[in-house]
Subunit: 338 residues, 4 copies
């Protein structure tokens, strides 16, 4: 085995917990030397369960520690920008949850700092590491079904988040569709123009937050491919995650996974299992694979991916989507500056 | 059994042939007394095979015949308008293939005549009579999965028509997407606004015809529902006909049919059968059911559906789609007058 | 088109009705000149609906008519033997519903007569003409998945027949499994040995009739392939018709068809449509294709298939299955003489 | 959290490695204090990777250690009997891989010892802990689809083991079908009678070993249910693991899992992914869940399941299967004493 990377986790809430668990249990490339959370007791609980020795409240302590080579940042979105900048200045290799920031100017500012410090910055677009979405990309890239013509992405959450969350989330396009913008670029390439429509159809409080809970986003790619994304905040049958790339000589479709393989038949028909309920179950392997790749790139000193620029593009597209919705017209990304 | 309706078929080309065959073999409500085609030998061949006694070249002869109660019109699209008007003036009950005309003014003119003569006019939107699309509508209408939020329609032809055909087809939106516009109205209701993008990605001659071969159309319905249609002229794996209505408490999805049910597994995975190749196979039952319903309405003197107004709306939406593509902006149907 | 064959249908009950309808409406190779049923009014009703001119009560009248070249026999099973013999002696080409008789001696007697008269005799094992079962056979025959190793057949009726029917049906193996015995020979080849077990698990009156309503039959084929058939008289989710041929380099599986392609998802999972309810719907195409092939063989004077010998083997295996159940031991077909 | 159980793993080959990894990484109820293998370097490598401090060559050392409460035995099958006996005498709680022994007399001997010492003994029939097979059992047990009538199990390995392995494996029924015998009892209950046929169809060396590589086993259960198992040593499309319980009011079917959810369509049809290749991938969760349950039973002092008696029954049925094959007749388990 190659050397292990000393890594600290900053932010041990829901997704930070998942990452820490993965780092300790499934990612042999990692040596977790510390966890950090401003809610110290949250970090302590994770550390106790997983046998991590060092627990701190203030992430600056970790940045000063020369033995720590890398940090995984999974704090609240609004703290990503300054923690990444601090970590970059401290020379740490950085894995940061998406998005870098909800505001394009902030993203640009972070990327400037990162570029100057030459540290690696990988963004947690975990869906790129899902085996089915990767398989679609492989098939399409191989050319065996011709060139891509149409992209369709369905991304629907099982239930709406709280009103509190929604208010500061950046809205549906930056909080939820942003995954699809990145997936669209991953599968097809750069986007020229975007048009977004949306409604409040399942949870009235989205109106209060000037947000939508249902949307369709049309994409025009530089290579002529056309695409449509549809999103909803409430798919009662579970977390609906599907993708289709229609090509000139065929089609590749990634369907939903299922809780089990059982089919039950009775006098009213057949019944089969729902998709997994949450992103944590659905993308369990993706969360592991993305961090494993990050650490391998650190060890081998190779470029990481998805990059800060990928994060910038996703935020830019998200802001353009909002602009499109507000103005009810297609927005050219080339002309759009956020 | 109720009385049979004396019916004549005008136009016995590809689709007229299908209708005549159905009328004779599967639709007991019909008594086919004559077939008509300007290519007399085409009509004669159909008549010979099916045992129909009367064959004429000029449809006016049939309109003068008092014993003929109904006509089924399956001639070239550009002749629908004047034949329907003539038939209406002659007091015949009319089943006409879609679209009534490619130009909204012509459609309005026909509908004026039909309204004055009080004859019935049913339009051949056969997909409304497909059992799976009907089942989706039933499920959604029942309310058991809440109210609709998102509509998705995939409609992809197995291969492009000839250049000759394309040139006079009215273009992709009026020739192909028009089915989807009607299906959208059938499933969800009236459309407020439409936005269309398209590309030439599979067959270069579409450019020459100022047409596209690939498109995505975004719909905004009066009830807040959002929708996306995607179309292609070339799905090499067969005729791709899928539909999804996502609702607040569930989802209803109509998938493709398959040539057979066989799954073959070997060292590279599983293989299963393609969808039926053409609309004639895929919608075989729909073609029968729509005409059967028409004849039952004639016998019982009940209103038919889909109506001339449905045809008018489909053409109007098709023209709006072209306008949207040309101007690259969403088009409000309320303000749009073709 | 080649010449049409003048054919008469003898027996116009449930299945005879299906055949007559198919002959008139879908099988252009046929000219239906007469129908016959001892319940004259049943034959008359069919003739009226389908426009058949001649209706008789006594089939001998038809056998004497020199203009009738072929007969399709769909009377009660216990009359097949003597009608086939009479028809053969009259020189008619014969299509007869399965089985020829419930008793092996009777079958042998019929086959002797047919052989002497040199007429064609095709047996109505319609499942051989199902497109999915044929596709499995094609795949396996092609050798692309190696040689066959295991055969599995599932054949389950939607609901039990009446007690009256069961009493004279020949029992489950001769009334129901007989189709599977023929299918097993069609897919794999000759059977050496059979072992059958059964229970009464869904309808107590089968006990009274010394019959079973649930069974599993193990087959050992001459080429070393092993097979298992399972049957039930009551599959409440519909007519369950599945087949699997497992081979040394892969597998071919024919699954059930479905009433429609709709999948509905809600908070308890996905729901999809049942298989077609009855053999008439499930094997609609098979009923047409088998008779079409028969008539083509008559016109071209080619050998028909499945033959009387196929019927004999199916009855022989059925009797051996009963013997196996009674003695609770495997029965070698080579030694078994019924 | 309840207290952790100090456990040692004896045998760290292929499956012992899986268990050790699971115990350390995924089973919080465990504290792995030592690993043991007669190939000390194998145990050492596992210990190094997983951070286990104690490594021994001779399992007796572990049995003498009072701090070790439980042992997990994953050595070669022919060593299970004496190690279990030694562990039982030492008062350890025991989890042992199946089967206890290949000879019924040996199994009985072990169970006598275990009974006297009152320790817990759980057998590693991991398929009982598969979520899909458990779901089938739940559905059937709930009574919502009536009572069971027919059981079908398909169990096919991706490729044959080595000749060396086969020679000492106990043969197909004791090495491979034994899982299905246990699953049959898990799903339906006790078996009265068994009939087995088999062939050598994929790998000639099975003949040399007086073994078969393909079989079908018919089961008659005490409650009247009938069942069929089919097994093959070579399913080139992957590890084929399916199960069906047909009931008086419906059916429950557990299908195969798939490597990914991607469907690819092209001009020859659709292609989808194979099942996982091996039992380690297919039953990954089952391996975790069975050991977790064992440890919970140890902590709560509850009875474990599957028990030594379950193992005894599976071996007995396996021996009866061999007897049936040799004598070519059904064997009553009640009369059969191995």
């Amino acid at each position: 085995m190659k050397r292990q990377v000393n890594i600290a986790v900053i932010g041990t809430g829901r997704i930070g917990n998942v990452h820490t668990r993965n780092l300790v249990r499934s990612i042999h490339e990692a040596n977790v030397v510390a966890v950090c959370d401003i809610r110290l007791e949250v970090a302590q609980a994770v550390a106790d369960e997983l046998g991590i020795e060092r627990v701190v409240k203030d992430y600056h302590e970790l940045l000063e520690d020369k033995d720590i080579e890398a940090v995984l940042i999974a704090t609240n979105t609004n703290t990503h920008a300054f923690i990444v900048k601090d970590a970059a200045k401290a020379g740490k290799q950085i894995f940061c949850e998406k998005p870098l920031a909800l505001d394009l100017a902030d993203v640009n500012d972070v990327l400037d700092t990162v570029e100057k410090t030459k540290v690696k910055l990988q963004i947690g677009f975990n869906r790129r590491f899902d085996k089915s979405f990767q398989r679609v990309r492989e098939i399409v890239s191989s050319g065996e079904i011709g060139h891509p013509c149409i992209l369709r992405i369905t991304n629907r959450d099982p239930e709406p988040p709280s009103f509190e969350y929604v208010k500061t989330s950046g809205g549906m396009f930056l909080d939820m569709s942003i995954h699809d913008f990145d997936m669209a670029r991953f599968q097809i390439g750069e986007i020229d123009e975007i048009y977004a429509i949306g409604s409040v159809l399942v949870e009235p409080f989205f109106k209060e937050a000037n947000d939508v809970d249902t949307n369709i986003i049309t994409l025009r790619f530089s290579n002529g491919v056309v695409g449509a994304i549809d999103n909803s905040r409430q798919a009662v049958y579970g977390y609906d995650q599907r993708l289709e790339v229609f090509c000139s000589k065929g089609v590749a479709i990634a369907g939903n996974e299922a809780e089990n393989t059982v089919i039950m038949g009775n006098e009213v028909g057949y019944r089969s299992a729902k998709p997994p309920y949450s992103f944590i179950e659905r993308y369990a392997d993706g969360y592991i694979n993305e961090v494993r790749q990050f650490l391998q790139c650190v060890v081998d000193d190779k470029p990481v991916s998805p990059t800060g620029e990928d994060s910038r593009m996703a935020v830019l597209i998200g802001e353009a989507a909002w602009e499109s919705l507000r103005q009810n017209r297609p927005i050219s990304l080339k002309k759009f500056t956020g």
